[in-house]
């Protein structure tokens, strides 16, 4: 990942492709962008670096015309412009690849692309162009395949090709690597470098420092809606970039050894499950074991059975009793509430709407899963007890909010996650399952959550973590397994593996038939 950036080949004439001056956007509760200045030259790969909530996405939406700024100017190729909506942005030559794809699963690749075009088209000619553009930029795509059968990486290609067809002069990518394997990330970078060498400017939004260092020529760092610095990433260190981004040193977790007896607590054997959802992933003969005092990590890209495995572990879907065993008791047939009574708690990936009821207060949300801990008596709620529970949770886990009466949806992602994790820990589980513990959480809260999980495991709790962030798994886990295409690999102590090997497995090592974008398995060491 430490490839130095290629030489800046575009002619750096005096005219910047895009220049923002004093862009300001206020929302009722927050100033998302406060006097932002930003300059991107032709052929420049420019990083916009910042934590969640720093205002990066709002700024990109302003450039793409999806949001209107309250004040400030946009200069496009030296000319002042007003970008009223995305189709105007596309006319100017601005393309955007969103973090969350907007594709119709039941339509083919070319049909999806046609839907986004502003001009008339004929499908056959378009398919040929899709093929041509995708090969030219090393993004192989079959125009006639239905989108539901594509991997996440391929879906992202559809989005990128969709932008490239309009021959953009500026391409905006919002956290593009969050869904890719390490190998796929390298391929994406090659494509982006080629585009840049042809003079396309790229705005690259990310919070991953090493990616920015290996890819970007320049960077604008944002914090709290303001620009806190500009930098040449190759001349910085991750620590210095992090300081600009979060205003202090990057926190590091402490991982002490567990001294107690490592008896198995949560055991899964022969778990197979075909989901009702036709686009879901079937689980095939899953086996795993989580012991006291350890964190078992499950790596892999979402959509490979993660959602199905989590639901089967939590009890949101049930199956044969013996497939899931908790402290010697078969629980595979029990629903989530009954498993929780036996000491299994669960932090889901979706905080709003699953882990918490959005319009309800934190006190009411305490009752959601902790009702068995004195918050309900003889069928009646005990609002005072729930209030106290929420208050303790807020204090103990440093949840920044308006108190136990604050609605769950008024909290930031990180603070709501701290509340949910805290609520599940306060139920004194013997085993805990956590999905994407720090997804969308700022660096400070993420470090706090990771340390909390490590400390909890060292107190004798068995913890299973499912995450897309490989670095996170290597930081907190004791053993790591990979879930790909509904199959789970053997868990390996993290000292005996590395990101390269895990990445190889993530792209479908166990698969008998390889999709077009699957990484060849022969390269595995």
């Amino acid at each position: 990942m430490s490839t130095p950036p290629p030489p800046f080949s575009g002619p750096p004439d005096n005219l910047p492709r895009l220049e923002l001056t004093g862009i300001t956007k206020r929302y009722p509760s927050v100033v998302a962008n406060d006097g932002i200045h930003l300059k991107v030259g032709p052929g420049e790969i420019h990083a916009v670096l910042g934590e969640n909530g720093a205002g990066k996405s709002t700024l990109m939406k302003i450039i793409y015309g999806a949001v209107q700024a309250d004040a400030g100017q946009i200069q496009w190729n030296g000319r002042e412009v007003v970008i009223a909506n995305p189709s105007e942005a596309r006319r100017l030559g601005i393309g955007m690849v969103f973090q969350h794809f907007s594709l119709f699963e039941t339509l083919s690749v070319v049909e999806n692309i046609a839907l986004a075009l502003d001009e008339p088209f004929d499908l056959k000619g378009l398919a040929a162009r899709v093929k041509e553009v995708s090969t030219r930029y090393g993004l192989p795509l079959d125009p006639d395949r239905l989108v539901y059968s594509l991997s996440v990486g391929e879906r992202q290609r559809v989005e990128i090709v969709r932008c490239l067809l309009q021959e953009p002069q500026l391409l905006i990518l919002d956290e593009p690597t969050s869904v890719l394997t390490p190998q796929a990330v390298q391929k994406l970078f090659e494509t982006l470098r080629r585009l840049a060498s042809e003079g396309v400017s790229i705005l690259y939004i990310s919070h991953k420092l090493h990616e920015i260092q290996s890819l970007c020529h320049s960077a604008t760092v944002m914090r709290g809606g303001k620009v806190t610095g500009t930098a040449t990433p190759s001349r910085e260190t991750p620590a210095s970039l992090a300081r600009m981004m979060i205003g202090r040193e990057l926190p590091v977790c402490e991982v002490p050894a567990f001294t107690g007896e490592a008896a198995p607590v949560l055991t899964v054997r022969g778990l197979s499950h075909t989901p009702d959802d036709p686009f879901g992933t079937a689980l095939k003969d899953i086996a795993l074991e989580v012991r006291r005092g350890e964190i078992l990590g499950i790596a892999g890209i979402s959509g490979n059975g993660q959602a199905e495995l989590l639901a089967a572990l939590s009890g949101e879907t049930t199956g044969p009793a013996n497939t899931v065993v908790l402290a010697g008791t078969p629980v595979g047939h029990l629903d989530a509430g009954r498993r929780r009574k036996r000491g299994l708690t669960f932090v889901p990936e979706e905080r709003l709407g699953r882990g918490a009821v959005p319009p309800m207060s934190l006190a009411d949300n305490a009752t959601l899963s902790a009702h068995g801990h004195g918050l309900v008596k003889k069928g009646f709620l005990r609002p005072k007890a729930a209030w106290e529970f929420a208050k303790t949770c807020i204090e103990r886990f440093d949840v920044r909010c308006g108190g136990p009466g604050a609605a769950a949806r008024s909290l930031s992602g990180g603070n709501l996650q701290k509340f949910i994790v805290g609520r599940e820990i306060m139920q004194q589980p013997i085993a805990m399952v956590v999905a994407q513990p720090t997804w969308g959480v700022d660096v400070g809260a993420a470090a706090f959550l990771r340390q909390t999980l490590i400390d909890l495991s060292r107190s004798g709790v068995a913890i299973l973590v499912i995450s897309e962030e490989l670095e996170e798994l290597f930081e907190i886990c004791d053993r790591i397994a990979v879930l790909a295409e509904g199959r789970l690999s053997e868990a390996v102590p993290k000292q005996q593996t590395n990101a390269e090997k895990i990445g190889m497995q993530m792209s479908g090592l166990f698969s008998d038939t390889h999709g077009t974008d699957r990484e060849p398995a022969h390269a595995a060491a």
Binding site: G72, F346, R354, G379, L381
Partner: protein
């Protein structure tokens, strides 16, 4: 460019204002309606809203009409909070009336204190069973209760029609589709001479209190609310989705059945084809107008009852068609749903150019 944008948090003020705005708009459009019919709106509203309440009997009639509306709406609101849409309370009302009326017919001539309580219990069970059928269909076959409850309402109408045309037809009723008139032991005695208000209103009052406690304090109601607001969170917590369906539909069927008995053992006094002037459907509006809140429903029920009375008065005094009641009900719900949008959304400011 969409006109609306989401509010950061739902507006509590709008939530309370929405019913008032809806009432205001209904009055405004109602005025236009009266004008176009050549009536003086001030006079018409006097007939509609003031005249019915200018006599003791008017207040009595208000209670007679508000009772079933409130009772049914309380039950429906439980389901609506859980997003279980029982729109066939009319059918459950009829089945409750049939069950209660059946008891009255079976024990005709028996002069005992227990006849009326038995009717009430039978009516509750009848309505609850009619609500249980869509619950079974939903939990077993995933059939949408919105459709099944409505369809079963028509089935109930035909069942009633069959009974009063066939087995339970009054032999001395000159072939009218109606049962015998119930005897005094099978009737709620009027409280005042010459007025129809009776003890059935107490059922609605007690039910309102019970539902208020239930919705604000019970864990079961909490589970139902979670199921409605965030089904995935309910599954995550291990709350049973099937139980939500059963409780919602059986409970709302039960209250509708009780309302049905209240009618046949009260103002109607027999089984016939005009047991209910659409209480089961109007109660849907009452439930929403009352913000699905037990106390709000009491107020909304009184208002809706007044619309019924006003509609009748308008027919007599202004020679307006009977449809006027339905029009006002419809406008009220329409404007309420429109105003409700502004609880979660607000008007978007016009896009301004990027240079300030």
């Amino acid at each position: 460019m969409p006109l609306l944008e989401a509010r950061p948090t739902p507006s509590a003020r709008m939530r309370l204002l929405a019913p008032l705005i809806a009432i205001g708009l209904t009055l405004a459009v109602g005025s236009l309606l009266f004008l176009s019919l050549g009536k003086n709106p001030v006079e018409a509203f006097g007939v509609f809203f003031i005249q019915p309440l200018s006599s003791g009997n008017g207040w009595s009639e208000l209670m007679v009409k508000a009772g079933p509306l409130i009772l049914i709406a309380q039950g429906l609101a439980i389901g609506f909070r859980a997003r279980i849409y029982n729109i066939g309370a009319e059918g459950q009302l009829i089945m409750g009336a049939l069950a209660g009326g059946g008891v009255a017919i079976a024990f005709d001539g028996v002069d005992a204190w227990w006849v009326l309580p038995l009717m009430v219990i039978a009516g509750a069970i009848g309505g609850a069973l009619w609500g249980a059928i869509p619950a079974l269909l939903r939990t077993r076959f995933n059939a949408q209760e919105t459709l099944t409850t409505l369809m079963l309402a028509y089935v109930a109408t035909f069942a009633l029609s069959y009974m009063v045309n066939g087995p339970w037809r009054d032999p001395e009723g000159m072939n009218f589709p109606q049962s015998i008139m119930f005897g005094d032991p099978a009737l709620f005695a009027p409280w005042f001479e010459g007025m129809r208000v009776n003890a059935a209103i107490l059922i609605a009052a007690v039910a309102s209190l019970a539902f208020w406690i239930f919705t604000s304090r019970s864990f079961l109601a909490y589970q139902l609310t979670v199921g409605g607001l965030a089904p995935a969170a309910a599954r995550y917590a291990g709350f049973s989705a099937n139980r939500t369906v059963w409780v919602s539909l059986v409970l709302s069927g039960l209250t509708a059945g009780l309302a049905g008995v209240g009618e046949v053992a009260g103002p109607v006094g027999q089984l016939n084809l005009n047991i209910s002037p659409g209480y089961g459907f109007a109660a849907i509006i009452v439930a929403y107008l009352g913000r699905l809140n037990a106390i709000g429903i009491v107020l909304a029920g009184l208002l809706m009852a007044l619309l019924y009375l006003g509609g009748e008065a308008a027919q007599v005094a202004l020679q307006l068609p009977a449809a006027i009641t339905g029009l006002f009900q419809g406008m009220l719900l329409f404007f309420l749903l429109g105003a409700d949008v502004f609880v979660d959304y607000r008007l978007k400011p016009r896009p301004r150019p990027a240079y300030a």
